[in-house]
Each structure stands twice: as C-alpha cells, then as structure tokens.
Amino acid sequence: MAAASRGPGGAAARPGDRGLRVVGTPVRKVDGLSKCAGVTKFADDIVLPRMLFCKLLRAPVPHARIVRVDTSKASKMPGVFAVLTGRDLPIPFGILPVSQDEHALCPDRVRFVGDPVAAVAAVDEDAAFDAMNAIAVEYEPLEPILSIEKAIATPSPRIHDYGDEGNIHKRVALEFGDVDRAFRESDEIFEDVLFYEGNTHLAMEQHAAVAAVDPDGKVTVWSSTQTPHYVHRALAKVLEMSPAHVRVIACPNGGGFGGKSDPFNHEIVVARLSQMTGRPVKITLTREEVFYCHRGRHPVLMSIRTGVNRNGRIRAMDFKSYLDGGGYGSYGVASTYYTGALQTVTYQVETYRFQGARVFTNKPPCGPKRGHGTPQPRFALEVQMDKIAERLRIDPADLRLRHLVPPDSLTTNFMRVGSMGLGKCIEAVVAGSGWKEKFGRLPHGKGVGLACSSYICGAGLPIYWNNMPHTGVQLKLDRGGGVAAFCGEIDIGQGSDTVLAQVVAEVLGIDPYDIRIVFGDTDLTPVDLGSYSSRVTLMMGNAAIQAAERARELLAKAAAEKLGVPVEQVGFGGRRVFDVSDPGRGMAFAEAVVLAEAKFGTLGTVGSYTPPPSAARYKGAGVGPSPAYSYSAAVVELDVDPCTGWIRVERVHLAHDVGRSINPVLVVGQIEGSVYMGLGEALMEEQVFRANRNGVHKNPSLLEYKSPTTMEMPDVVSYIIEDPDPNGPFGAKEVGQGPLLPIPPAVVNAVHDAIGVRIDEVPVTPEKILRALDSPAKRFGPKGVPSLRWPEPIRVAPPGDGGAGRPVEAAPADRGTRR
C-alpha cells in the first residue's frame, strides 16, 4: 500500500486495516522485562559521584506570614553545604500561565501545612535532616480557611492577592440554549446536591529529583515527572536561564495518575542548590511529603437540576460545581471547566447551563488526578440518572440508551464527537452481567448498579498558547535494521513506550523489539507535552505514523529501484521489504535501509501532531475539545450488610470503547487499574484535614490513607469495544482514565438497589450507610450549596439552534478560547 495515502492522523483512510500485524496484538511491553528484573532506573535510583542530599523544611501551620527565617545555626552544622530560603528564588511559577502563584520556597507567606519554606543541601540525608530542624522560622498566624463554605464566606484574609473575588479563585458561567424555557417546558424536574470528597494519587514511587551542574553552567535535572517539557519551562523561568542551558530528563515514573504533572518546588530547589554547590544534589520526598505535594482530586460540592419530559428525554440541565482548590492554582482553572465540559458528551442534553467556582483554602493544592475534574460531575449526573429512571419507571440502562450522542456530531456545547461506542458498551455490560435478571430482583442486601461516562483523548489546546505541534516523533534508521524512536513522551506505567514501538513497527514491517525508544529528554527528544489528559496514544501515535511513513517512503523508493517495481508495489512485513505481487522477491529490512542510505544519505525522519481546530469559539472552550472521545459503561455487583453498613464488591463489568486497541492486554490492564482506583475513591480513599487541629492532614501515610488491597479487589470483567475513530492512530482512543469515571456512581447506584438508600456523597463508608438507613429520607448527603454571586453566563446558541460556537453577544473577532 502506498505510504502517501493519507496525511497525519488520517488513520481511518488506511487501506488494509485488517492486515495489521503488530497493532492489536498483546505483545509484551518493551520495558516489561527490565521492570521485572529491577533494572529500570527510577529517579531515586540515580547516584552521582559527590552527590549531596536535600531536605525541605515545611510549614507546620496552615496560614501565616513568615516574619523571620534564621538559617545561621543550620548553615554552620557539620556536613551542610548550602541553605536556601524563599528570598533566593523570588520568581513565581505554576503550571498554567494564568496562575503563576507558586514559589520554590515560600518567600513571605505559607498557605498550607507542608508548604516548603527552606532547603538544605548536605553530605548525607541525616546531616540534611538535622540541619533542616535547626532552621528557625517565626510565623505570624493568619486565619486558616479550610472549607468551601468558609472560603466563600470569608473574603479576607485573602489566601492569594489574585483571583476573581476574595478567596474565590475562579468563577465561570456558560449557557447553551434557553435553559429556563426548557425547564418550564419539562414534565419533571429533578434536583440533587452531592459531594465528592477529595483524594490523592498515591503513586507507589515518592517524587524524587536529582540535579547536576556542568562545569560550563548547564543544569540537568532528572525527575519523576509526567511533564518534562513544563518542568523545563518552569526551571528556565525561575533560574533565569536560557532553556538551552537547562536539560530535563524524565525518569520512568513509578506511577503518576496526574500527581507528577506540575512543576514542583523540589525540582527547582535541587537545581539551584546544585548551582550553588557545584555538586549533584538529590531529593527524595518522604511519603508524608508526597501527601503535601498532592495536586489530587478536588473535593467538589455539586448541585444538579435536570428537566426531563415523560419519556425521560433531558430537556434542560443546570449544573453547579464548587471546587475546594487548596492553597495554589495548579491546574485548577482547567479542573473547574472540566467539571462542566463533558456532561453533554456522554448524553444528549438539549440545553445546558454550567456554573463553576474554585476557591482557595489552606490545604495542599488540588489538581489533576486520573479523570481530571470529571469523576465528580459524572458521579452527580449518573446518580441522578438512576433517580430519574426510578421515578419514571424506566430501566436505568434503557434510559441511558435513549440519550446516546450521535457519532460524528457536535454536542450542545460544541464538542465534536467522532466515533461513539457507548451503546455497544451498555449492551456489553448489560448482557455480560445479567443486568435484566438482576436489577431490582436480587435479595435484600445484594444489588447491581450501572453508570456510564465519556472522556477526552488529549486536550485540543495546549496549556500555554502556541501554534506548534503537541507532540513530535523522530526516527533514526540504523544500517543494521534497528530503528531508534525519539519522543518526549514518558512512560508512567501506562505503556506509552510500547505503543510507540508497536506503531512504528507496524508501519515499517519490523518487530517492536527492534526499536530503541529514547523518551522524555528535553535535550534529545522532540517535545511531547506530557503524559496527562489521556493524550499520548492518540497524539504520539499519529506523530509516529507520520514519521514512520516518511521513513517508509524513502525505503520504498530505494527498494523499488532495486526490485524494478513501482514504489506502490513495495510491501513491508516480517522484517522484509518485498514486491507485494511476488512476496518471495525482496530483501531484508536492513538491506533496504542500506540502499536508502546510499541513495538519500543519513536516514532520519520526523512526524508531529496538532489536534484539529475546535468548533467551540467561546471563552472557556479551551477545556473540553479533544480529537476524540472514549466511552465506557460499568455494572457493579455488590452486597451491603444492613447491620454494619459494610460493602463487599463482588464483581465489576466494564466495557470501554477504545476505538481500536493497539495492545489489548495493556488496554485490559488500564481498565482493571481504573476500576481499582474508582473503587478506592468510591469506598475508602479521602484526603482530609483536621479543622480543629490547625488543618493538619488526617491520614498522611499509606497505612492510614486507606486504599484497596488484594483482599478488597473484586473480579473485573473487561469488554473491549472497538469503534475506530477517524482521528485516532489506527482508530485508537484513550483508555487510561475513562474507565475510572463510571465506577463511583455505579457503586452508589448498586447500594441503592441493594438496600434502598441513596448516598449522595463518596466515599461511601459504612457509617454513611447506617446514617442513611436511620434517616427518614433514607439518604445521606449534603443539604445544600452556599450562595454565590455568579457572573453573567456566556451565552452560546447550540448547534441545533443554528449557533456557530461563538458567544451570542460577542463580536466575530473574539477568540477568547485560551485557558
């Protein structure tokens, strides 16, 4: 087949899809054996000669002015090479351009227990620890703000000097269509208030970073980061260095889940300490410190009001979210928009209003955790759907099937949906679980619950405004037949190295293990924005196809000449390049490389990927658009002991529309891991603080922060649904995050089926179940939402009303779609 048959990303046009050899097979991960042999080098495994060790002194108070930092005693202690305070690193940073509100070390104010104030570099960890404890800090306490309600009610003292108002960091309001009229025309209106508790990533690897300075002043930082490119930018900014003199090498992450997506204090601190001492400096956070880095799931209070007509059709939805952001901005503005962006992508909603507010509180900053801003609204909507189905006497699965978003369509808020496999997902879990025989028919104490979701495959817009590609892949062909693939992606366990190898191997007809992956190195690899937002398979995959097809074209030209056939007649497969009309006639792949190198010179190609432009052109539409959307449906089977409130999940059925699975065993692994993490959030995980103990973390250890062990994990039945998307590489969509989303609501819905109580709050603990059983309404959950002055919504006419994706009032030139 001809290499030039399609442009970048045009995977659907690929002829001979059924002839895929590597894509779609469960090949062993290319880094699998290294990880099992214990030879993979994580950041803390790096040891350099003359390396010093760093410790950070963190604030013991939640909110205070720093009056004085006395480092004189610490700096004279044995083994201490350098001591740093906030004054030494005055330039702020942050992941989003709109919230550059962090400092490597707090210069004048601390905003949560655990905020770093000073740093020490010493000859070993013990010396660093002793010196850290010898630093004296005088604080002038400020009133701590530890809840959403208090943040709204307490405009002063302000935790930050910027933000929409008082301690409200961000307020947004969007309206699509005439929501109020649609409510008036609805037959039934449902109103619920729900709360989703915050929780944290809890990656098994604690964050670690090593910095080393060259004799010529260049700085290299190795770090357990999901986003080396953003760390690179932050380091250059804060260190006031040319980015050309800063190199960031991302080490394979020992789990990320979003928790290593921000540039962090410690990465900047070790770089500066290395500059000061001329020696390599390492830091490895303790587990307790990892809880303070956080950037995890925002606690979100939500109200959802939905108007339906008699057959259950959603006429209007009014969704409000209140996010507890913690002490800094992090990804919070994006998180806020994400709580409102995807309701309409999962189900058809005729008219939709979204109001979201994120507040600052004196707790570790919240940010992106697996599903970023989506599990909370998903929980609210899916639990309410269950209530709607109950009242209208419609089977919950059937109700959802009535709301499927058509493929190749624009949603009410102008998200462009390509392939849409939710119907098949629902059918798979309904049939596989025996839903029709079980729902409403199991004995008291046993129940089944169903929920659905959709998720983005990468953000359509970059975090900082630019017109460059979101990812790039570079290939270097070796005369021996090996191929090196360079990409800034970083494998956090999801298997992105393997996806890259499989895609390149597929196009070039070689074995994935013939490919050497060079990843996550800002000096060596083309930029990839990072392993977040479920973007890597789709974006890197498309860039890899482009790079590999360009290499293939060179090889095909050289081989065609030798074989005396037209270029279109050259095939690739089995490490051979051959005449497709007579596959016996051909040569080894390596021989084709030699011929091509002789003909064209040194062989190397590049590919890149930029998402298609979004149809949404209103302010706030920077969040939500994606090249494609994945879909999932889940059925949870569980039993509840009405005497103790104890829940035992027996089995979870999860069907996920992945477009096309590049590697099915890794897809199943992502489904199982997502189900696991969703169950943890649904049943036990909570990042919570003691308001009456000055805002200290309640459970900053792996023992006290409960997460499911082998003993709690139920069976998971995974169903891979393949509805190839035109924008995906070979049709592939994401699977890393989407399958988590339906789990918490499916658990809650199953609890209702089992014992008839509604728990409008996760995690669903035995205590909440017992309290619901004892309550007249048979419900446990929040009572209401605080009053807030919302801004006038940006009004956009939905596509069905002839809207063009722009605000109704705005001038045509307005392009306020940046984040």
Binding site: G38, F81, V213, G255, Q275, P664, V668
Partner: protein, 200 residues
C-alpha cells in the same frame, strides 16, 4: 567531633570566586563492618549501624532494584527474601542480617534466565509502572516455593501486604497463576480473556 578539612577545595561552580573556600565540617559517622550474603554472593559493607537493610542494599550495595514506598513498613514495596521468607527491608536493620541469606529482585533470575514469575509478569502487563513489582515478585516467589499451585485466594493472602496502584492486582494474580502453571508445563499459555478481555 567534626573535623574541618581545609586542604580540600570546593569545585569552581558558577559564579564562584577563585578564592578557595573550605569545605564545611563533615559529620563523623561511626561505621559497622558487616558481611552480608546477598543473591548468593558474600559482600563486605561498612555502614552506619542504624541503617536498614533497604538502605544498605540500595545505597551501599548499589542494588537499586529494591524500591521503597513509605519506609514505615506499610506498603510492601521494599520486600526482599531473608532466609527464604518475605520481609520488609525497611524495618530490618542490616546488622540483623549478617550471614543470613538474602534475595533481592536482582537475585531471582538464574544467570541470564529470568524467573518464570518475571517472564509472566512482563507478558501480562502485571508490571505497569514496575515500582511495586520487585517486592511483589519476591513475595510471590516465596509463595510458589512453598506452594507450587496456589489458589487465587492464597495468592491474594500472600500478596496482601503489597500495595499496587496501577494494576488493580488482577494481572498480578493472573501472572502468578501463569508462572505456577509453567512450573508444571513450561509451554502453558495465558487465558484468552486475560489478554483480550471478555469477547462481546
């Protein structure tokens, strides 16, 4: 007491003046001399007596395959085998381990041939990020040594002290089962549902 080593110089780093500055006084660290039997080798170590086996294995022996998740005995990540039994190396002093055979993840393979557990874990994606994997492999190898055909429940119990955040444990269970089957039948293959999910 601390000694002040004035003869050594700081390296000339960025913006550092040419004038030699003394190194800070270095802390005096008492050291214990130990003989450890790790992965079949006898190794001599001089280390601070309060160091844990985890620290000595990683920092003094350079065997960084053993990982840590909490250093408080809560997560199982640092599991190694001491006298054939899985132990949390973060809770054991190296001093207590003299002359007791220790196996870390680096010692599971026989020469260049990986342990059947290592192959099965790699094949099934039971190692996603791979960070909890060395500890789980050690715990699972002890299980198989004592019970070559464990039930799913026995595997759950044997690994209940090891946290994993990536896999949901299922691929881990399946990999232990596959490795156990291969002890009897080296050609045993994974179930189709393990690799592809349940067919719709």
């Amino acid at each position: 007491m601390a000694r002040n080593v004035k003869s050594r110089r700081r390296p000339a780093g960025r913006k550092t003046s040419i004038r030699a500055r003394p190194l800070p006084p270095l802390p005096v660290r008492e050291k214990a001399h130990l003989r450890l039997r790790v992965n079949g080798e006898t190794l001599e170590v001089a280390c601070a007596p309060h160091k844990t086996l985890l620290e000595v294995v990683r920092e003094d022996l350079g065997l960084t395959g053993t990982k840590h998740g909490c250093e408080l005995g809560e997560c199982g990540t640092c599991t190694v085998l001491i006298e054939g039994r899985p132990q949390l190396s973060c809770l054991v002093l190296a001093l207590e381990c003299e002359d007791r055979p220790i196996v870390t993840v680096e010692g599971l393979a026989e020469g260049a041939r990986p342990h059947p557990l290592q192959t099965a874990f790699a094949e099934l994606g039971a190692a996603q990020c791979g960070y909890c994997t060395p500890g789980i492999l050690c715990a699972a190898s002890a299980l198989l040594d004592g019970n070559p055909a464990p039930t799913r429940q026995q595997i759950r119990e044997a690994l209940s002290g090891n946290l994993c955040r990536c896999t949901g444990y299922i691929k881990i269970f399946e990999a232990v089962e596959l490795a156990a089957r291969r002890l009897k039948d080296p050609g045993a293959q994974p179930d189709e549902e393990t690799l592809y999910g349940r067919r719709v």
